[in-house]
Amino acid sequence: MNGIHDLGGMDGFGPVPRGEEAYVAFHSAWEARVFALTNAALTRAGANVDEFRHAIERIAPARYLASGYYQRWLDALETLLIERGILTRSEIGLRAGSEGVAAIAAAPVAAARPRAKHPAAKFSIGARVCARNLNPAGHTRLPRYARGRIGVIERNRGVHVFPDTNAHQAGPARQHVYSVAFRARELFGAPAHARDRIVLDLWEDYLELAAIKPVRRSTARKPKRKLR
């Protein structure tokens, strides 16, 4: 989904926080508790990590931005426990008092349908690939900033569970994951440094082979002749 969580390339969040507080993992005891609770309860609840990530992504954008990191974990954990029928909203509300229970995250939608079924890798090292312009309504790990952009396959990272289906309990759809290097300027234009690169780990379904070389010359000349 094209959600608020997909932050790469956005402006306006100000400088990166520094100072002592910025080096702390937990700011209060409940944050540590929700971390442990999620780690202990998620698998017992029959939910996988992709579903958990997606439950965070389903939090309404305004709430996502206004919440602290572990508040988002708490929202996601409650959402999954309620959706799984392990706890009910009123049960939590009653126990927590009037302030309890977050607005549940938006309902999940259908999973993407996997294309890749290949046991063998489709792309070789050095291949020029284009990140497909995918906009699935469900979970995906292809950031918006890379869609439609061309990069080079640097590494094959082996076969991995496909989050776009796994987050929706629609099967693992295992496929190859590649480290794909994109030139910073390909992604972010001229302000980016000419030497810099961004490497993303992308599933085979996210990629297609790019044209070997741009065929600018032949396509540029033909229409001129036609105009005459």
């Binding site: 790469g8 100000g14 937990f26 700011h27 409650e78 980016a192 961004i198 992308l202």
Partner: protein, 208 residues
């Protein structure tokens, strides 16, 4: 947002919700509070950047280990007894005179727990997640790190299960230090890529 700073004993907002969840899940036999204590204890004390610092120092001192680390970081770290959740697909990337590496997770907060512990707040901040890919040099400047124009900056956006640790450059003047002393120099920030490692105290004067 202000809920973050509420005092725990007030048990308002998230603190009350977490307490309710823990009670209910315990009553249903889904979690054991003692196990939760154990998880918190592990991540507050046992697991942390000191593990990654040992890996870096060993890579500086032991050429055969260094090769194994870059070929297969999971096995190399396992040799040192370092393994665990979020470390099953660990990758080590090396800073050199020509390449400087920086790690981010723009979509959430993926981070190599077994070597670095849980991510610090700044790593999870919207500011870092948004700009580390589009303006990595600007972000590093905020940390006081200036990367020369002739050096390539390579940003690793942790979009899949691979988790990255940066192996920083060994500082000049550290030749005489033992592996254990070297590990003391290695900072968490340097293993994420927002800092270099300063020359050891005393060495700076010599190298000048």
């Amino acid at each position: 947002m202000s809920d973050d700073h509420h005092h725990d004993t007030s048990l308002s907002g998230p603190a009350a919700r977490v307490k309710a969840l823990e009670e209910l899940l315990t009553e249903k036999g889904l979690v054991d509070p003692a196990r939760l204590d154990q998880i918190i204890e592990t991540y507050q004390h046992a697991v942390g950047p000191h593990a990654g610092a040992r890996v870096v120092a060993k890579a500086w001192c032991d050429a055969a280990f260094r090769r194994r680390l870059f070929a297969d970081a999971v096995s190399a770290c396992a040799e040192m007894g370092i393994a665990g959740p979020e470390g099953g697909h660990l990758v080590a990337v090396e800073n050199t005179a020509r390449i400087h590496n920086l790690v981010v997770c723009t979509l959430c907060s993926c981070y190599p727990w077994p070597v670095l512990g849980l991510p610090p707040a700044w790593y999870k901040s919207f500011a870092y997640r948004s700009r580390a890919v589009s303006d990595p040099r600007g972000v590093m400047r905020e940390f006081g790190l200036i990367i020369p124009g002739e050096v390539e900056v390579r940003v690793w956006d942790s979009s899949a299960e691979q988790r990255y640790i940066v192996i920083p450059q060994r500082p000049a003047g550290s030749e005489a230090l033992s592996e254990a002393d070297l590990a003391e120099l290695v900072t968490r920030d340097s293993m994420i890529g927002v800092a270099k490692i300063a020359a050891p105290v005393g060495a700076r004067r010599k190298s000048r």
